[in-house]
């Protein structure tokens, strides 16, 4: 890869004024990628801290899982879970994404929801979806291993990939296959025989009233051979995945694609995997390194990713420092192709250009039109952000446009935001 002097230098800290400028534009880029968007004040804070301290600030803040600004949303979620009300659960999550003081915690929660993509269309339980969501929120910035173990035993996952009917005799391969292909190693890093044997190791894994247990009568007690090693328990299969070099590489590469750039050379993938292993597969530590890196601030990274519907909606709300009807905002995301808690398949949502079709782009424009209506519109958006200066902030943080200020007749920040949101440029971030 020629654009960084070497693969190693891609991950080295970005030095303001040596590697490139450090202005509000770079700080806005960091705010966009880390938290989908931010207020002008937060962008100024990031700029004042500099890249290293800003990365530390955002990651450590998120790791504290501060819920002070989202207490109400969390209690809505708990009640929705009890009432099996998935729509309110979704609204509560959009609320959390929009209002969390440190948005990275929620952004990672969404990242893992997409990675371990589980849909309520089959699970049919808001309580189980919420419990799984809580795993992603609580463990999503910690070490990858414990989270993978937790997800394997998570009741929503047990239901989703049929572990809950997997029994000795002729085991069900569904979970074993996706554990390898999508959750830990990537396609082709295992054989069909590994899948069959691993499936045997997961026999008898059940959820009993939302709690994991092993049904001894359904369990295959025999020895199994996975990746050439002899094991007997499902937990050992998960550990074997975690030990493989491919796992660190696969997860690190996915984080790179989510936060830095869409393309990834084999050399860089290797280097990222090694770095992720170096930090003990600690997601937060790895991200902190990424967020302060030369690659992260390179010209190739800037506005080089497509905004997901969540990034578009949450980015707009956060940048406007707005409050609104989160149920309607969640529904708008669904119309744009991202219905939270209902990913289209176990592979999650296709990203990049796949987000954009004639139908979803039309929905994005309808979203912008509703944003323009502010409090009068479907989203009932309100903000205390001052009109003064907001236009240039929104130009900078929502799209790569020249700052040409508020247009005539744009009396509200919402009208300005809408004008930017419907441009081709604002679909990139």
């Amino acid at each position: 890869m020629s654009r960084y002097r070497s693969i190693a230098s891609a991950l080295e800290p970005y030095r303001p004024d040596v590697d490139g400028p450090w202005t509000l534009a770079e700080a806005a880029h960091a705010a966009r990628r880390i938290g989908f968007g931010a207020t002008a004040e937060r962008v100024k804070t990031i700029r004042a801290k500099g890249p290293l301290a800003a990365a530390e600030f955002e990651v450590s803040g998120a790791k504290k899982r501060d819920e002070s600004t989202t207490l109400e949303a969390w209690s809505f979620a708990e009640r929705a879970a009890q009432r099996n009300d998935i729509e309110t659960l979704r609204a509560a999550w959009v609320n959390r994404l929009s209002l969390a003081e440190f948005p990275l915690a929620e952004r990672m929660c969404l990242f893992w929801h997409d990675h371990f993509a589980t849909s309520n269309t089959k699970v049919q339980s808001a309580a189980d979806m919420h419990r799984q969501n809580r795993i992603f929120f609580d463990m999503g910035l910690g070490k990858f291993g414990p989270m993978l173990h937790a997800v394997a035993k998570d009741p929503a996952m047990l239901r989703w990939l049929d572990s809950d009917t997997n029994k000795k005799g002729i085991p069900n391969e569904n979970f074993a296959r996706e554990l390898f292909e999508l959750f830990s190693l990537g396609i082709g890093k295992y054989t069909e025989a590994d899948i069959l044997e691993a499936a045997r190791a997961f026999t008898g894994w059940r959820a009993d009233r939302h709690v994991f247990k092993i049904d001894a009568t359904a369990r295959d007690d025999g020895k199994k051979s996975v990746f050439g090693k002899t094991i007997s328990h499902g937990e050992e299969v998960v550990d074997l995945c975690l030990e493989k070099k491919e796992c660190a590489r696969f997860i690190a590469g996915k984080l790179w694609r989510e936060f830095v750039a869409d393309d990834l050379s084999p050399d860089l993938a290797e280097a990222l995997g090694a770095e992720f292993e170096n930090v003990g597969m600690d997601i937060g530590a790895f991200l902190e390194r990424l967020f302060a890196s030369r690659a992260f601030f390179s010209a190739d990274a800037r506005f080089g990713l497509y905004r997901s519907p969540a990034a578009l909606v949450v980015g707009a709300v956060r940048s406007l420092d707005a409050r609104g009807n989160f149920t309607a905002l969640g529904a708008a995301m669904a119309e744009m192709g991202q219905e939270l808690f209902c990913p289209p398949s176990v592979k999650g949502w296709d990203d990049g250009r796949a987000w954009i079709t004639t139908a979803t782009f039309s929905a994005r424009r309808r979203f912008a039109a509703e944003v323009a209506r502010g409090d009068e519109g479907r989203f009932k958006l309100r903000t205390s952000a001052k009109t003064d200066g907001i236009a240039s902030h929104l130009q900078m943080i929502l799209a790569d446009l020249e700052d040409n200020g508020a247009k005539k007749g744009e009396s509200s920040p919402f009208a300005t935001a809408a004008r930017i949101l419907e441009t081709n440029e604002a679909q990139l971030f």
Binding site: T165, I170, E181, R302, I356, E402
Partner: protein, 400 residues
């Protein structure tokens, strides 16, 4: 069935995947000239891996009944389309299509070294590329591009009638496909009148900005036709399902100016790992009724001769059921074709149950040869083999 067809069946059962000389070539005469601008293609994607064995039932196979103690469909419960063709009872709605010679079945369709990943295998089917290339384009997108370069008389319109990303099959064409989950999805689209704002990084993101702009142009393509389509009354009733509505929309598009369109439509849910007796029949009923209504609507509208429907899935399922009364990922599976101009019936005989490939049905027809046949015989495409890169020159006669 003619003697020749019988020979075809017998021979094709013996040829396997990669014969250099193929006996079926006897039946593929010179490609007839067609007015391909009045020919539409509908690709029905059965997503998740359709269980072909519980769809067209191998009632004479002891292996089938032996390995599927819980979920096999007994001969007496199946519907008899012909002496040697039994199908799941949920396919009842397709019986008229079969009896009228408007349905064809191809068994054991697949490709060498079958991949059992949903996502990889679906990519392989839709791109017609079995190599692992990162930038795949679709077989129909490439066909449309080739056709434009060759004929230079406008783009063939590509549609995905559904929600979600553009399917791989339709990518790589000229312009952008129209994605339409329902008729009102594009709203009252009108191109932006204000001058575009100045950009800072035009050069760097040029390709992306062009891609985004192409979406607007694609939306404009159908803006003029939406009123006529909304006003159209189908000539036969559709089932009240999402798939039924989508087939109705396709008929509307064909009737209102897109008679040369390529349409993809998809039904999800075929990944029946557990309790498939509860799930698969619902899906079968859904597509059987939707396709039957579509054929009836087109026939009554005088359009049936212009339309070919091809149904496919990313793989079939394992012959043996699993302990969850479901089936895991398999290899080969059946394809179905519908239309007035197709060669009807069972094109390559009963499903070959032996020899199995790791417990799965072995492919003996390469799907890429089916694609070549569709492009050559339906659209009169002369360089189909370059577009699809079929593995051998064996031909299958699909269109009369």
């Amino acid at each position: 069935m003619t003697t020749n067809r019988r020979d075809f069946l017998r021979l094709s059962a013996a040829v396997g995947l990669s014969l250099g000389t193929d006996p079926t070539r006897l039946f593929s005469d010179a490609i007839p000239r067609r007015d391909s601008k009045k020919r539409a293609l509908v690709l029905l994607e059965l997503n998740g891996g359709q269980d072909g064995l519980n769809t067209v039932i191998p009632v004479e196979s002891a292996t089938y009944y032996d390995r599927r103690k819980k979920i096999a469909i007994r001969k007496e419960s199946a519907i008899k389309f012909a002496d040697d063709v039994y199908v799941a009872p949920e396919l009842a709605a397709l019986e008229p299509a079969w009896k009228n010679g408007r349905m064809a079945i191809l068994e054991n369709v697949g490709y060498p070294k079958p991949d059992r990943s949903h996502f990889r295998s679906m990519d392989i089917w839709q791109s017609a590329e079995t190599e692992d290339t990162t930038r795949r384009t679709g077989w129909l997108g490439r066909f449309a591009r080739n056709e434009r370069e060759r004929k230079n008389d406008g783009d063939r319109p590509l549609f995905f009638i559904g929600a979600g990303p553009t399917p791989v099959s339709l990518t790589g064409g000229p312009g952008s496909p129209v994605v339409l989950p329902h008729l009102s999805a594009l709203g009252s689209f009108s191109p932006s009148e204000s001058s575009p704002p100045r950009r800072k990084t035009v050069e760097k993101r040029k390709a992306d900005l062009e891609f985004l702009e192409a979406q607007s142009r694609a939306m404009q393509k159908i803006a003029g036709a939406t009123k006529a389509i909304a006003a159209r009354k189908p000539a036969a009733p559709y089932p009240p399902t999402e798939l039924g509505e989508r087939f109705s929309l396709i008929a509307g598009l064909i009737a209102c100016g897109f008679s040369d369109g390529i349409f993809q439509v998809k039904l999800d849910g075929f990944d029946t790992h557990a309790g498939q007796k509860d799930t698969l029949p619902v899906l079968q009923t859904t597509y059987a009724k939707a396709v039957a209504a579509f054929l009836a609507d087109l026939e009554a509208s005088g359009l049936l001769g212009n339309v070919l429907v091809v149904a496919f899935s990313e793989f079939g399922r394992r012959v043996a059921e699993n302990g969850s009364a479901g089936t895991d990922h398999g290899a080969a599976g059946p394809m179905f074709l519908f239309g007035e101009k197709i060669v009807p019936g069972r094109l390559n005989g009963a499903c070959r149950m032996e020899p199995l490939l790791d417990g799965d049905l072995a492919p003996n027809v390469d799907f890429r040869n089916v694609y070549v046949a569709v492009l050559e015989q339906w659209f009169g495409e002369t360089s189909a083999r370059k577009i699809v890169l079929a593995p051998s020159d064996s031909s299958i006669r699909l269109v009369k």
